[in-house]
C-alpha cells in the first residue's frame, strides 16, 4: 500500500482486520502514504490493526493529526510498525 492520501475520515484512516503479508510503506522510493486528520466522529486512528497480521509491515508513512492516535495495534499479532 503506497502513495495514498487518506485524510479527514470519520473513523480510522486504515483498518486492517487479520490482514497478513501487507506492506504499508514507502519502499525504496519513499512513496509512503499520507494518513492524517482522521477520526472526525470522535474515535479514529491513523492505522488500526486487529487479529492475526503475520508478516505485515507499516513503515515510512506520514501519519499525523489523527484524533485517537496514529497507530492502534494492541489487538493485532504479527504486525511490525516502524514510526
Amino acid at each position: 500500500m503506497q502513495g495514498n492520501t487518506i485524510s479527514g475520515l470519520k473513523g480510522n484512516g486504515v483498518m486492517l482486520s487479520a490482514v497478513q503479508g501487507i506492506t504499508i510503506d514507502g519502499g525504496a522510493t519513499g512513496a509512503g502514504n499520507t494518513i492524517s486528520k482522521n477520526g472526525a466522529s470522535g474515535v479514529g486512528f491513523g492505522i488500526n490493526a486487529s487479529g492475526l497480521c503475520t508478516g505485515s509491515l507499516v513503515d515510512g508513512n506520514l501519519v499525523s493529526g489523527n484524533k485517537s492516535g496514529h497507530y492502534f495495534t494492541k489487538n493485532a499479532r504479527g504486525i511490525t510498525v516502524i514510526t
Binding site: 492520501t5 487518506i6 479527514g8 475520515l9 480510522n12 483498518m15 482486520s17 501487507i22
Partner: protein, 302 residues
C-alpha cells in the same frame, strides 16, 4: 404469434416489415427454432407501442444467431438463448422489465438501452463477449429483494463498455448490487457508468479477472459498499493510464476480503465515506496505490 416448435430439422425465422414507423411486431409466445435456425426481426417501427414488442422468450441453438433490427420494447421478462451467431440489438431496447441473455457467441448492444424506459435488470449468463456501445439505464425500483442491476455470470469474458459520452446509470437496486460479477470475467472493461443508490455498487465475486479494468465509473450513495471484492484475483480498480473511479458517499468505499492476488486499487478518489475508505478484511495479495505517479488513491472526507 403462435409458438414455432414443429417443422424441418433446421428452421429459422425472419420478419422484415420495413414499411414505416407504425409497424409493430409482437412476440407474445415463445419462439423455438430447430437445428441452427436463426431469428431475424427487422422493422422501422418505433416507440413503446410499435417496433418489436418482446414478451416471450426466444430460443435458437447450434450456429444460430438472433438479430433485432428495430426498436425493442420489453413487455415481460424474456430469456433470449442463441448459438454461436450471437445476439445483436442494433437499435434501442427499452421497457420496465428485465432481460436474460445467453449465447455461445457474442452479444452486441449498439443502441441505447433503457434510455426511454429503464430496464429493471439485465442478466448475461453465457456469452463469448459483450459489447455495450451506447447508453445503458437500469433502475431497480419495484424489483424483488436481492435483485441486481447488471449481472454477469462466471466465465463471461470480454465484456466491454465502449468509451462514449452516452449516459449509463444503474440505480436503486436497494437490496442488491448495481453490477454483480459472479465469477471470473477476463479481458473486460467496465467504464463510464454511474452506479448510485444501490446496496452495493459493484460486487466482484471469487474468480480470476485477468485483464479486467474498472475505470471512469462513479459509485455513490450506495447504502453499504461502493466496491466489494471477495477473493477476486487480478482485477484492476482504476489504473494510471485510464484513470480511476470516483467513489463517494457510501458507507464503505472499498471492501476487500480473502485472496486477492494480482488485484490492484489505484488512482481512485474515495470521498465522504461514513465508515471506512478502504477496509481490508483478512485480505491478501492486493496492492493499494503504488510508488509511481497517479498510482495512489485519494481517500478523504470533505
Amino acid at each position: 404469434m403462435a409458438a414455432i416448435t414443429k417443422g424441418a430439422a433446421d428452421q429459422g425465422f425472419s420478419v422484415n416489415t420495413m414499411a414505416g414507423v407504425t409497424d409493430r411486431v409482437r412476440i407474445l409466445n415463445p419462439i423455438v427454432t430447430k437445428g441452427a435456425g436463426s431469428v431475424a426481426i427487422t422493422t422501422l417501427g418505433v416507440g413503446s407501442t410499435q417496433g418489436i414488442r418482446l414478451k416471450a422468450s426466444v430460443t435458437s441453438a447450434g450456429a444460430s444467431s438472433q438479430s433485432y433490427s428495430g426498436a425493442v420494447t420489453l413487455q415481460a421478462n424474456p430469456m433470449l438463448s442463441s448459438g454461436t451467431g450471437g445476439i445483436v440489438f442494433s437499435s434501442t431496447l427499452d421497457g420496465a422489465s428485465s432481460i436474460s441473455l445467453s449465447t455461445t457467441g457474442p452479444i452486441s448492444l449498439s443502441g441505447n438501452v433503457g434510455s426511454t424506459t429503464p430496464l429493471k435488470g439485465m442478466t448475461v449468463s453465457k456469452a463469448a463477449s459483450m459489447a455495450v456501445q451506447a447508453g445503458l439505464i437500469l433502475s431497480g425500483t419495484g424489483t424483488s429483494t436481492g435483485a441486481n442491476g447488471l449481472t454477469i455470470a462466471a466465465g463471461v469474458n470480454n465484456v466491454v463498455f465502449a468509451p462514449t459520452e452516452a449516459v449509463r446509470t444503474i440505480s436503486k437496486f436497494a437490496t442488491g448490487s448495481g453490477i454483480a460479477l459472479l465469477g471470473g470475467s477476463t479481458a473486460s472493461t467496465v467504464q463510464g457508468i454511474t452506479i448510485i443508490g444501490n446496496f452495493i455498487g459493484l460486487s466482484v465475486a471469487a474468480g480470476t479477472y485477468t485483464g479486467t479494468l474498472v475505470t471512469g465509473c462513479t459509485l455513490s450513495g450506495n447504502s453499504r459498499i461502493g466496491i466489494s471484492l471477495t477473493n477476486a484475483r487480478s482485477i484492476a480498480i482504476g489504473n494510471t493510464k485510464a484513470g480511476g473511479n470516483t467513489i463517494a458517499t457510501n458507507l464503505w468505499g472499498i471492501y476487500a476480503i480473502g485472496t486477492l492476488t494480482g488485484t490492484t486499487i489505484r488512482n481512485n478518489r474515495i470521498t465522504d465515506v461514513s465508515r471506512f475508505g478502504i477496509y481490508l478484511n483478512n485480505a491478501a495479495g492486493v496492492k493499494v496505490g503504488g510508488a509511481l505517479t497517479n498510482q495512489g488513491n485519494s481517500i478523504t472526507n470533505s
